[in-house]
């Protein structure tokens, strides 16, 4: 009798090059690259050097074709996230899943789709289920290395004469994947099993055709099946266009040249990256930190998830003598029972998205850069959970915060070098995520995730203000979308869309401002809404004297009298919540419930016609002392309502005269006022070392909120280095410590603990 393994054993010839399996090829690339220090051991770029025009021609064809496929395929989609916002991306890989060229769009998925292909190679898909010409695979499993469940990958192998010559991957951000809450990045999931429909590198089609069982199961597993289906067609169409393109290139150039090209282009990418680091930065160490609040106490969640915590992400960039880039996140918080966990691939791949907007702003970004860098990703941390139960549906909450110090680190290097035009004080926390679902105004089971967040404020530079309401770290081509389109697709009317003054951090150059949309429930049959964003904490620092971008908050109102007010033509809440210290919405309506607080993450609440909800998109951090800002620019900001009058005075130290609502800065009085503020600064401040004595006393007394203590306890439990540095800095003895188990928090999931022997 045969065992199951024997029955399943492959009988086919390997599909890799020269009679090798893909698994053997993957192992060989890793070994040779490590041994030689060159990708695939390519010491000399002979193709590029001997026939540079042909080399560049192949590159241009592939890159152009991949970008073109994205632009064309995106028209197939109906989802506003894909069609309006461009939340899709295609990438071409080697047989071993190293990326060669990538389209524009959400290029974080260069890494995540590579991880999925590597997963298939690692798990011998070549034997079972088999990898054949015309196969279509799907993945969105977070623990395989995806960003979050809603990023659905289509993966297609490319064959030439029986050999795999590569893979093409396409991804779209799908509007809903059937999670515990509606929308693509819902609040509600606290475990993997709440995250929605997860497909683990599954073969979903053969001979270029999707199988019926797949089509039925997948569309029954999500809300908004229409979007799901058209997104899938988009991905498949793009993948097949790129496969055709590659086969055309091979027919023209010959398969051997194609094989040489894909090796050399990655090694070329690696060298290009090293050169950029050397050209733009300064060797040394750059440190930063980010935080994000997880205010879950009292939310509608399992008891063990109902606790306040903080996601702490310290980062240390080391630029070595040989320009090797290393980023270490040691000291980061433990993963938790929230949907904000991430995978190592998503944090590192996202770093490439960020670097492609600053250090390597060209189309040559491929896995070569990955071979020129090292990352320290602590096991058990929020971006490397040691438990498959972790939830990831809103992974961006922590990621977007975690990356912002890296901008500032690199910017210190640019400042030293004199590349002031490249400085960026950081990225905004791209939230709120305004989400909802139910039976919509067309009577269809649907969901929404407002991608207005694709247009947040940019961090200030050293030579100009950050751009307002313009971009998101994760999609540099992002756009706020047209109100008219959102109103067609979502059961929410716009009562206003306006810049929020002062949401960008103040500075010599201020952060780009964020903005607000006020939405009125309209026409849905059954609907719930939720928001997810940063609230109690600013997720960035400023740079070189600038302030962080403003923190978030929520505003919503239920059971309002707006129907009656509209009928009677009475004043309504309109526009932005321009100055939340002096709110006006409440003056123009009555409501049974008004939420106006820092609770910027909420779980589903029923949402009816004439209910109101505010979407607040954040601003970016500022650069430099606000007292150094040209008073004329402050005057412009005030008249254009980018800042509020009292902060133009208090923070920027400017004095104005006003006539008919137009402000004019008084330069002489401003000079005096700024002098006065400087004097006050010295009076109210103290030498740092004196302050440290006072702060140390607070630490010894354990005088801090529970969530702050928990944050330290988690980092102490995971990292000896962080603990030692903390204690050394404050000069605190061995007898002082904070343990998680002393803080009356859930014990679930707290596995790795260096204070316990089982670690």
């Amino acid at each position: 009798m045969k065992t199951v393994d024997e029955v399943q054993k492959k009988t086919k010839a390997p599909i890799g090059w020269d009679g090798k399996t893909l698994k053997e090829m993957r192992a060989e690339i890793d070994r040779v690259s490590k041994e030689t220090g060159y990708y695939a051991g390519i010491k000399d770029l002979t193709f590029k050097e001997e026939d540079p025009i042909r080399f560049e021609k192949i590159f241009s064809k592939l890159r152009g074709g991949v970008v073109h496929a994205r632009e064309t395929a995106k028209r197939v989609a109906a989802s506003p996230i894909v069609e309006q916002e461009g939340e899709l991306c295609f990438s071409l890989y080697t047989p071993e899943a190293d990326s060669i060229v990538t389209s524009t769009g959400i290029i974080i998925h260069v890494g995540t789709m590579g991880a999925a292909i590597k997963f298939m190679i690692e798990n011998d898909y070549e034997d079972n289920p088999g990898i054949n010409d015309g196969d279509i695979f799907c993945n969105n499993d977070n623990h395989v290395g995806n960003v979050h469940t809603c990023d659905v990958h289509t993966l297609v192998p490319i064959f030439w004469e029986g050999e795999v010559v590569g893979w093409v991957g396409g991804v779209t951000h799908v509007i809903d994947t059937g999670a515990a809450g509606p929308g693509s990045m819902p609040m509600g999931p606290v475990q993997r099993y709440d995250d929605g429909y997860q497909v683990t590198c599954r073969k979903i089609g053969e001979n270029d055709e999707l199988s019926k069982d797949w089509l039925l199961e997948s569309t029954r597993s999500v809300r908004g099946a229409k979007y799901w289906t058209l997104d899938e067609k988009t991905r498949v169409a793009g993948c097949h266009m790129i496969r055709d393109l590659v086969l055309d290139v091979i027919r023209e150039e010959g398969v051997d040249n194609y094989k040489r090209f894909i090796r050399e282009i990655i090694e070329d990418g690696r060298r290009g990256f090293v050169n950029q680091v050397k050209m733009m930065t300064i060797p040394g160490k750059y440190r930063g930190v980010s935080f994000i609040d997880v205010p879950f106490e009292g939310l509608d969640l399992p008891k063990f998830a109902q606790q306040n915590s903080i996601i702490h992400t310290p980062s240390e960039i080391t630029i070595h003598k040989d320009a090797h880039l290393e980023i270490d996140f040691e000291g980061s918080s433990r993963w938790g029972w929230h949907p904000f966990n991430a995978t190592p691939v998503s944090i590192t791949s996202g770093i490439w998205v960020m670097l492609s907007q600053t250090l390597v702003p060209n189309d040559r970004i491929n896995d070569g850069a990955y071979y020129a860098s090292t990352f320290g990703i602590p096991l058990g941390s929020w971006f490397n959970p040691d438990d498959i139960r972790s939830a990831h549906s809103n992974t961006w909450h922590g990621l977007v915060a975690g990356w912002t110090p890296l901008w500032r680190g690199l910017s210190r290097g640019y400042w030293g070098r004199g590349f002031l035009e490249e400085i960026n004080a950081g990225n905004a926390h791209t939230s709120n995520w305004l989400q909802g679902g139910g039976y919509d105004h067309h009577g269809e089971l649907s969901a929404l995730n407002s991608f207005e967040s694709a247009a947040c404020g940019v961090g200030a530079s050293a030579v100009k203000d950050g751009i307002s309401h313009s971009a998101a770290l994760w999609n540099p081509e992002g756009d706020m979308g047209d109100m008219e389109i959102w109103e067609i697709l979502e059961p929410l009317l716009f009562m206003g869309r306006e810049i929020l003054p002062g949401s960008g951090g103040a500075g010599k150059f201020r952060g780009g401002n964020g903005w607000q949309s006020l939405r009125l429930g309209w026409g849905a049959k059954e609907w719930t809404m939720l928001v997810a964003g940063a609230g109690a904490m600013a997720t960035d620092c400023g740079l070189m004297g600038g302030y962080p971008g403003a923190a978030g908050y929520r505003f919503s109102a239920y059971n309002t009298d707006l129907k009656e007010r509209i009928e009677k033509r009475l004043p309504l809440p309109l526009g932005g919540d321009t100055d939340p210290d002096y709110p006006t919405y409440e003056k123009n309506m009555n409501a049974e419930v008004v939420n106006r607080d820092r609770q910027a993450v909420t779980t589903q609440e029923e949402f009816d016609d004439y209910d109101l909800i505010l979407n607040y998109l954040r601003g970016g951090p500022g650069f430099g002392d606000p007292l150094d800002r040209d008073p004329k620019l402050v005057e412009e900001d005030l008249n254009d309502r980018y800042i509020l009058h009292r902060y133009a005075e208090k923070v920027y130290g400017c004095v104005f005269t006003e006539k008919d609502g137009e402000y004019k800065v008084d330069l002489e009085a401003t000079k005096e006022k700024r002098k006065q503020i400087r004097k006050e600064r010295l009076e109210r401040s103290m030498p740092t070392k004196e302050w440290m004595k006072k702060e140390k006393q607070k630490i010894l007394n354990k005088d801090a909120s529970k969530q702050v203590q928990l944050m330290y306890a988690e980092s102490f439990a995971l990292s000896e280095k962080f603990t030692d540095e903390f204690k050394e800095f404050w000069n605190i003895g061995d007898d002082w410590m904070i343990y998680e188990e002393d803080l009356n928090v859930t014990k679930l999931g707290r596995h790795i603990n260096r204070f316990k022997n089982n670690a």
Binding site: G418, D625, L627, L682, M692, V708, E725
Partner: protein, 171 residues
Amino acid sequence: MSEQKYDHKVINELVEGTLEWYQIKNMMSSHKDPERFKVYREVMQERVSWDDPILLPLGLHLYIVLKENGERIVKCDCGHEFCDYKENWKLYANIFVRDTEEKMNEVYPVLMAPDPEWQVIREYYCPSCAAQLEVEAVTPWYPVIHDFEPDIDTFYKDWMNLPLPEVKSKG
């Protein structure tokens, strides 16, 4: 002498923040000029009132400079000297911590400021000229962040192939 892409005047305007957007855009879009550092360092030196040679600009108002005795120290453009460049200058600055709603409200409307139970804002000032040199938004108890430790010797010797600036003899 290699050709300069941008002269002292342009780089000075870059530092001043007075370049037009189209000029900045061109600068961002074109290949970087390897000689930038040399020109920039000279421009920065011309802009300060003291003579200590600048080794590396460290922040909007801060520099690492070389003293006559060979020490490398962090210095403010106002002339205030902080500490050895290997140390964290923030420990020699003045600090003001916004740890109440009221203090936060001087910079942001209440709801747009961090909740002091979760986070404080720490402002570091030059003890002489009171310039706000850095702002941290961190949890209470957070160690003062040592933002940047440059490897100046490797930078000059191995990366730039430039001699380290020397103290001019007085006379």
